[in-house]
Symmetry: none
Subunit: 247 residues, 2 copies
């Protein structure tokens, strides 16, 4: 097929990427129709099966919607409101209140050593953008929490925006790179604050802390961002209220 062949990815993924790029770049604006599957078959010189696999991927990403008889339409990106969740992270707390501040302690590329790989579940030797920050209530010198962000190097370009940014990072990545987080996993566990963490949080070593992890996955399964927030137990509680929805 076409000579541009970036990687060893399967055909349908390359086609999906190709179409995605065109959608994002405005070749197929929101609301317009994509070419028919048969047209796409001819254009990419592949079978309809492959085209449908590619379109299925874009559907999973929430970029398009297909209807039998009618064609395939580019739909507006779903702005997902993670905030309806309650306060999920330092950023959410800071963002919500506007009465809070963030100080970034470290930012830069990091090659994961074995210990870090073990702790994060990422692969040792890989390179990630690493951002470390402390969150405060304004006027207070006592940190509310400590955050470590590991950002896929493909999206390391967000780093230049982070120094002035207080909101969650993942919408920034979505906007900037035109990708969509397909899956977010949240893990909450208890731990003890010791050593460096205790010092930064200004608590006694051995005092309890709440660790909240978020991993953001693209539809490809690739992890775009991993965030680890640590909060002293007496300064943070993770609360969610659910209501039964009635139609």
């Amino acid at each position: 097929m076409s000579p541009e062949n970036g990687s060893g990815d399967p055909l349908y993924l390359r086609i999906a990427r190709s179409l995605k790029t065109e959608i994002i770049s405005g070749v197929f604006p929101v609301g317009t129709q994509l070419p028919t599957e048969e047209d796409l078959c001819r254009r990419f010189n592949v079978s309809r099966y492959t085209v449908r696999s590619a379109l299925g991927r874009l559907r999973d990403d929430g970029l398009i919607s297909s209807r039998r008889g009618a064609g395939t339409t580019v739909i507006p990106p779903p702005t997902m409101g993670m905030r309806s969740f309650g306060a999920m992270s330092i950023e959410d707390l800071l963002h919500a209140g506007s009465g809070s501040s963030l100080t970034i302690g470290h930012i830069g590329m990091l090659t994961l050593d074995k210990a870090t790989a073990q702790r994060t579940g990422l692969k040792a030797g890989e390179e990630w953008l690493f951002v470390e920050a402390l969150g405060f209530n304004t006027g207070s010198d006592i940190p509310l929490g400590h955050a470590q962000h590991y950002i896929n190097k493909d999206f390391a370009g967000v780093s230049r925006l982070l120094t002035t940014h207080k909101a969650p990072i993942f919408p920034l990545i979505e906007d900037l790179f035109g990708v969509t987080m397909a899956e977010v996993t949240q893990e909450i566990s208890a731990r003890l604050a010791a050593g460096n963490l205790a010092r930064q949080l200004m608590v006694e070593p051995g005092s309890p802390a709440l660790e909240v992890r978020h991993s953001y996955r693209l539809s490809s399964g690739k992890i775009a961002q991993l965030t680890i927030n640590s909060h002293p137990a007496d300064r943070y509680k993770h609360a969610v209220t659910m209501r039964r929805l009635k139609g």
Copy 2:
């Protein structure tokens, strides 16, 4: 394919439903392998395309996971499965706590003293049904967590059902008394296990623990049930995975 056509649904959906029922009913327990695609083709007398469509549906539902070369595995349900962003439903709580057993340590009416009232947020002097229990993984002697349930005395009648009951209590109350929980609040915090709790959980005093509280409110605003679960940090992690809706 076959002449009998229970519903107007496409083949692959009927097969997906069929497999889903078998997974849920325990024909294919969590951790086991599903039959190979070829086997399923023979069993349902359909093409591999159709079987793969059905399996794809189960994958989207988070029931199975397939790996090339290795087969298709039934995976454990996320502790709480949310299907869409921002819309967490009470029903998701129903799936909590499968594959575990419960031993009830204490059960009876309790008049709250000041300390307990302070700790629970309930009013001192009120009378509640108090149930204390330890949760285990089936086959294990090491407790997964410790639970305290405070149940509104209006619903104390559930107590006689609890000795044999393993699932969450609130659906039981709903069934038995014909009421509906309108709102559930979940609060997660970190604490240290000490004294009695450490002893019951069989951990060193001073080790970190995760405390998960659920309060169940009726539409009247009355609290029907309050549950406090305490888990050793290394035995329990609170995980939620959120996915975008398909189709």
